[in-house]
Symmetry: C2
Subunit: 635 residues, 2 copies
């Protein structure tokens, strides 16, 4: 009988470790240790938190550039069943994505010029369309895609490693979840420090890929641009339909997600607008060179699609054999895929904060954490992507069809918005800019439709179902916030505070120091005070009444017998009775609960269970002011 | 690459399902659905909740009787490497455990006579030894063993099924955890109803085993008591050492755990003392007959120990072939092992409530749930046994050596206690009773030492380490409760409540309905009121001061700028300043927080995050009275 290796779910382990740390040590200290010292608000705009464009580029580029490793392969895989005669088409398909990349980057540079304070699709749509829903569609599409980016990148990174180290294969899901948790913690520490950690590997991966392309070019200079393995060029294979071609194209396009990252993050560049443009141009050149050079080498060497060995790995084996260079580049690929997930931990929280600030998402997403990042957004992103990884068991193939439709939708909206903007605002050379963005809009709209149609049955429908639901929820949230604001508004000049009549209920369990303190407090603040004793049997009630009389009955004592051993139900009944009190309904009923504050953390489990319960219950169910009086041991 | 089948941890799924149910429906309704209607305290002693001994027996017997299935096998397995010449020893080894069983049951009947209100080892030790630690050792040993019983029984039940259905093998851990969760929910519904569900399968298993023994006897009558397969009797195999023999004996003894259950549960018998004695005698007879008949049949048929096929399964195949009878008995074995775990869900909570009532464990263990069972104890038992199952990956072999040492320790203490009792109390035939219990004490003490020595390195040491830690913790808990009681005690005639000086702080975020309500409440109850505004920048602070003046400044407004965007730190500082107030330290500082009570459950995530945080912080850190004012939307 095969036994499964002992393990506990990584989420449970992480929660347990953090919980134990909090239990054993001071809350603040643990948070400092995990997250770092808090930063002042004004440090946000200080230049040392902002980044030189050469450092910002690799961080923001990881998402886009990492897909170089699988983009061309994803495209040609769709055609591979047509036989070896189709191999040459990897070059034109890759070239068409490069063309699309150039169009998109040019369009996005227009976006940076128009919105130097950082304008993603959401900000652009909000600014240029009257209907709120246009921007919300763009935002929802992007948020979905950010979550998918984390799930896909981490899963495929782990899969890459598992192909090289088969012992990892049975633990792919757990390892992926662990990766997401590590990325989350690093990001909770803040933007600047993640930069220092994360820029080097992306640069290293770029160098590796350019080295690979260079090696290919040198090889071709030496042995010829057409070699013995090179398949024949230009034959249209039998069975090639337009739909299949479009499917190959849209799979290859999945590698274009992540372009938006730079234009969203313009403010983190030390040079602002010009830094972002430099980054876009450099990224465009490097990515295009890599894609074209890499796919041409694949063509020249006649590399086939294989189940167990990626095309990248095959090409590496041809040039360098199974040695150290192979290992290094595989590791670099793994790291850059993890970093692609990391870059999303900047994008998602920023976008959700922007949307939440407009009242379309819970306000907690706008609160900056101790380290100035939007911690709540990061936690939401990590939780959702862990959920996706769990549900899809870290299987990249199942996740990819959901991917990229969102991005192209958002692209289209952004380009349309920019076009409208140029025709309104005008300015120097506005006609050229408008035409560039219009072309961008048309191209991305076409790609959106192509992706939606060709990938519909294999998963794109999920996104097309979730999108309108998200937009609807966002509208509802905004309406709720507006309703609340209306209800809370007062006429500031004619609504002074009023004197209220307050009845206090003190829950007593016996006569001791805590009861004495609580009754003292109640008598000092309100005139109507009732002590309430809930007993489970007649003997304890009699005893309490006797004790109360001995104590001199400082206020009225009401005793109630609870046959079901519940405190909550008799308490609720008593409060209801008070609301129909003989002298008219009071404005407020105050419930006073004495609470023992233990000296040591482990004493907490020995006390206070019922007061916790009462507070939780009252919060949900009643219009009662709940006051908790702490009592600490005198020694 | 092999892919792991998609699954999420069963604990996570269960938590998620329950959470979703609570979120979507009313708390009370879900609890009713899962747990059933609450029962009145007086229903506890009504006879319809008590059980006829013939029904109570199978429920309480499952723990002991289920081990019939593996007891003889566990013993002979230790010797199996000595070759086929050792096979006959299964009869004397099993006979010696039967002898031990008879001694134990006789001793425990004395216990029932002495303590008809239900006396386990803990109650007996408490009553007869001055040192608290004696009873605590017994209680800790039993509590550990209850947890082990759940883990071992559920794991071995699932392993039995996995041997028959290999598809289950990779999910043993998850399935075991799921079983524990199901048993927990059934038990939260209460004793009587679990009885109705659980007595039938144990009876059925008994019938099956007796049928098997009967078949064996019929077979032997027909074909002779020594058959062609029967190994020769009485040869001492080479290499048999005393240590090995003792090891075999102590492994076989692991099947004697669970005898204590009946004597702990005397009050649940409708006939009380006499019912429990009847149950003990019947159980002793049935178990002895089964053990002797079963092991004799194993000897006659010459069944060998095998890795992949239990001896029970082999014997069934010999008599009945691979047909329906085989399947039915395998299923019955599975069910009875699950029920062995179930019986523990009565024992553990009762014992922990007893110990907690004496102040040695958290008081929450004494509270009876809605259905009159000790719900908290059940939840603790389930959590600990799930932890064990996870850590040991549901591997029975690894768990068994930890088992049974605790039980024999508790047996010894109980027998010694009873012996002391007879010599003190005397009464009719006390000398016989004292001798019976003294013999029981000596025998169980010897077995304890044998088990501890022979199993020490394979896991018994873990129990011997945890035991003193538990006793120490129990002593500390009792001391803590005593200290608290001392600190809370007041001189009831000379400690009337006093008038206190209270300063109220109202946290304000703007001027709106909630602020108006909260300020009104503060001004109605206290004379010293300060409104506190914590702003993140200068503009918002200026705006607030302007608004406050427009509103007529009903009380003093203090504004604080928080550079770290924290509410908690400036609030703490402000409270510290107030404690050194110009007019002397106030007796109480009251913090008033206005809280928005949403109409719909999903609105909760849109509000109140900061007030929740403040309350949690204040509860841990300060001597501040926290009052929460609810505000509901008027419409």
């Amino acid at each position: 009988m095969t036994k499964d290796i002992p393990w506990v779910h990584p989420v449970l382990i992480s929660l347990a470790v953090v919980a134990v740390m909090f239990a054993l040590f001071n809350f603040g200290n643990v948070k400092r240790l995990l997250i770092g010292r808090p930063l002042r608000t004004r440090e946000l705009n200080q230049s040392h938190m902002k980044l030189f464009w050469g450092i910002a580029l690799p961080i923001l580029a990881a998402d886009l550039y990492s897909s170089v490793a699988y983009g061309p392969e994803a495209g040609i895989t769709e055609l591979s069943k047509l036989g070896p005669g189709v191999k040459w088409m990897i070059v034109p398909i890759t070239a068409s994505t490069v063309l699309l990349l150039v169009i998109l980057i040019t369009s996005y540079i227009m976006g940076v010029i128009a919105y130097p304070s950082g304008g993603g699709a959401y900000a652009i749509a909000k600014d240029n369309f009257k209907g709120k829903w246009v921007g919300l569609i763009a935002a929802s599409a992007l948020l979905i895609d950010y979550v998918l980016t984390v799930a896909v990148s981490v899963s495929s990174g782990i899969q890459t490693m598992a192909s090289s180290y088969p012992a990892l294969a049975p633990h792919e899901t757990s390892l992926s979840v662990l990766c997401v948790l590590i990325i989350l913690f690093v990001n909770l520490r803040g933007v600047s420090e993640s930069a220092k950690i994360f820029s080097a590997p992306t640069i290293f991966f770029m160098v590796c890929m350019l080295f690979l392309v260079g090696t290919g070019f040198a090889n071709e200079l030496k042995h010829g641009f057409v070699q013995t393995h090179t398949p024949t060029w230009g034959t249209i294979p039998q069975g090639l339909t337009l739909l299949l071609l479009l499917k190959a194209f849209s799979s290859a396009c999945s590698s274009l997600t992540g372009i938006e990252t730079i234009s969203n993050a313009v403010p983190i560049f030390r040079e602002s607008k010009s830094g972002a443009i430099k980054a876009y141009v450099s990224l465009g050149i490097v990515t295009s060179v890599t894609l074209l050079g890499y796919s041409y080498s694949l063509y020249v060497q006649g590399v086939s699609v294989s189940q167990n060995n990626t095309m990248l790995s095959q090409l590496l084996l041809i040039y360098f054999g199974h040695g150290i260079i192979y290992q290094v580049i595989i590791w670099a690929t793994f790291l850059v895929l993890i970093l692609a997930a990391n870059s999303t931990f900047t994008g998602f929280p920023q976008l959700s904060a922007l949307v939440a600030a407009d009242g379309f998402l819970p306000r907690a997403l706008v609160i900056r954490g101790d380290r100035l990042g939007y911690s709540n957004g990061m936690i939401v992103l990590a939780a959702l992507s862990i959920l996706l990884v769990e549900v899809f068991s870290a299987q990249t193939n199942a996740l990819i069809p959901l991917y990229s439709i969102g991005v192209f939708l958002a692209f289209t909206i952004a380009q349309l918005g920019l076009t409208r903007r140029w025709t309104k605002v005008k300015g120097r050379g506005w006609k050229v800019k408008a035409v560039i963005n219009l072309i961008g809009a048309i191209v991305t709209a076409v790609v959106s439709v192509v992706v939606a149609v060709t990938k519909f049955t294999s998963g794109a429908w999920i996104v097309l179902v979730i999108l309108p639901i998200l937009v609807f929820l966002a509208m509802r949230i905004r309406k709720h916030y507006n309703d609340v604001a209306d209800a809370l508004r007062i006429d500031i000049e004619h609504s002074p505070p009023l004197k209220h009549r307050v009845i206090s209920i003190v829950l007593v369990s016996s006569v001791h120091q805590i009861v004495r303190q609580t009754v003292s407090f109640a008598l000092s603040t309100t005139t109507d005070v009732v002590a309430l004793y809930i007993g489970f049997d007649d003997e304890s009630i009699e005893l309490m009444e006797k004790k109360w009389a001995e104590w001199g009955a400082p206020c009225r004592l009401v005793t109630v017998k609870s046959e079901y051993r519940s405190l909550l139900i008799p308490l609720s009944r008593f409060i209801k009775r008070l609301e129909n009190y003989e002298n008219g309904k009071p404005d407020h009923i105050q419930l006073l609960i004495g609470q023992f504050i233990p000296k040591k953390w482990w004493h907490q489990i020995l006390h206070n269970q019922s007061s916790l319960l009462i507070r939780a219950w009252m919060l949900r169910h009643r219009e009662v002011v709940v006051s908790t009086l702490p009592f600490q041991l005198p020694k």
